[in-house]
Symmetry: C2
Subunit: 156 residues, 2 copies
DNA sequence: TATTGTTATACTCTATAACTATA
DNA sequence: TATAGTTATAGAGTATAACAATA
C-alpha cells in the first residue's frame, strides 16, 4: 500500500497573532493540509490515488460524458480517457453508450466502485468529526457556518 | 502553462443542516478544496507543480539532508532524488556537501528558488484574504481562532 | 466544419529494489 | 553491518497534437 500524501504546509505561519491564533491565512492553510492529509489517508487505505478518489467521488451522483467529466475534474479529455481506463480495468466504473449522441459515452460507477468510495467517505467523515471534537457544540456549529459562508461566497 | 487543479469536492454535501450550513464535515471539505485550488493556481502561475511547490516551501527555513527532506515531504528517498534533480536543473535549489558526514548532502534554496516560492506565497495570501472578505472582522477572527484550535489539537 | 473520444508521445511524480560510498 | 544517496525500472497522472467517427 502506498503512503499517504503529507500534510506539511507549503506556507509557513507568521506569528503576528500570538500562539492562540495563526492568522486567517495560515490557520486555513494548515487546516487545509490537515484535512487533505486525512482524505489521502483514507483513499490510500482503499488503495486509491487522489485522482481516482476524485473521479469516483464525482460519479457518486452523476453519469457524465467524458467531456463533462473533463470539465468537472478540470482535466484534459485525454487525461480523463486514461483515468477512466484504469478505473474501468479495476472494475470501479463502466462506459455505456450515450442514448442521443452516438459520438459520446456515459461513465457510471459500478457497485464495487460505489462501495469503495463510500468507504473512503465514511472514514473521512469520522476523522473530520474526531478532529473537531476539541470544540464545543456551539463552536463547531460556528465554524461550520463560517466555513460555509466563505465557500458560498466564493462559489457565487 | 498548466491548468490549475480543480476545487471540486470528492465528498458531496449532505444537506441536513439547511442551505446556510453544510455541516462541519462538508463545510471543511469544501473549504479545503477551495484553498488547495487557490494554492495550485498560484503554483501553476509560477510554472510549478504542487510537488515542486511543497519542496521549495519546506526549504524556505531549512537546509535539510536528502533523508530529512524525505521525512519532511513523506516521500521515499529515491523520489526526493528526482524531485531535487528537477528543481536543481531549473536553478531553484542546490546540493552542497554536508560538513560532518561525507555520505550526506544538504539541499538549499537559491535566490531564484526563494523568489519563485515567495511569489506563490504572496499570491496565495492575497487570495485567501480576499476569499474571507465576505466575513466581518470579528467573524474572521473567530474563524481564524477556531481553525487554529483544531489544527493545534490535532497536532498535539 | 465542429464536436466527442481515443491514440501517440513526452514529461513529472512516485515506489521498490539494487547499487555505491561512507560510517 | 548499517546508513545516505543514486540508479534502474515500472506505473500513474497529466498535457499537447493528431486522428476517427459522428453531428
Amino acid at each position: 500500500m502506498k503512503v499517504m500524501t503529507q500534510a506539511s504546509p507549503a506556507t509557513q505561519p507568521r506569528l503576528e497573532q500570538g500562539d492562540d491564533d495563526l492568522g486567517i491565512v495560515d490557520a486555513l492553510a494548515q487546516l487545509t493540509f490537515l484535512i487533505q492529509g486525512t482524505l489521502a489517508k483514507h483513499a490510500t487505505a482503499q488503495d486509491l490515488s487522489m485522482a481516482q478518489t476524485r473521479l469516483l467521488g464525482v460519479l457518486r451522483d452523476r453519469e457524465p460524458t467524458m467531456q463533462e467529466l473533463a470539465r468537472l475534474l478540470d482535466l484534459d479529455k485525454s487525461s480523463v480517457t486514461g483515468l477512466v481506463d484504469r478505473a474501468e480495468r479495476r472494475g470501479f466504473v463502466r462506459r455505456a453508450p450515450s442514448a442521443d449522441d452516438r459520438r459520446s459515452i456515459r461513465v457510471h460507477l459500478t457497485s464495487a466502485g460505489r462501495k469503495v468510495i463510500e468507504r473512503v467517505g465514511a472514514g473521512f467523515r469520522v476523522d473530520v468529526a474526531t478532529a473537531t471534537q476539541c470544540l464545543s457544540v456551539v463552536e463547531r456549529k460556528r465554524l461550520s457556518t463560517l466555513a460555509t459562508r466563505v465557500v458560498m461566497a466564493v462559489a457565487a
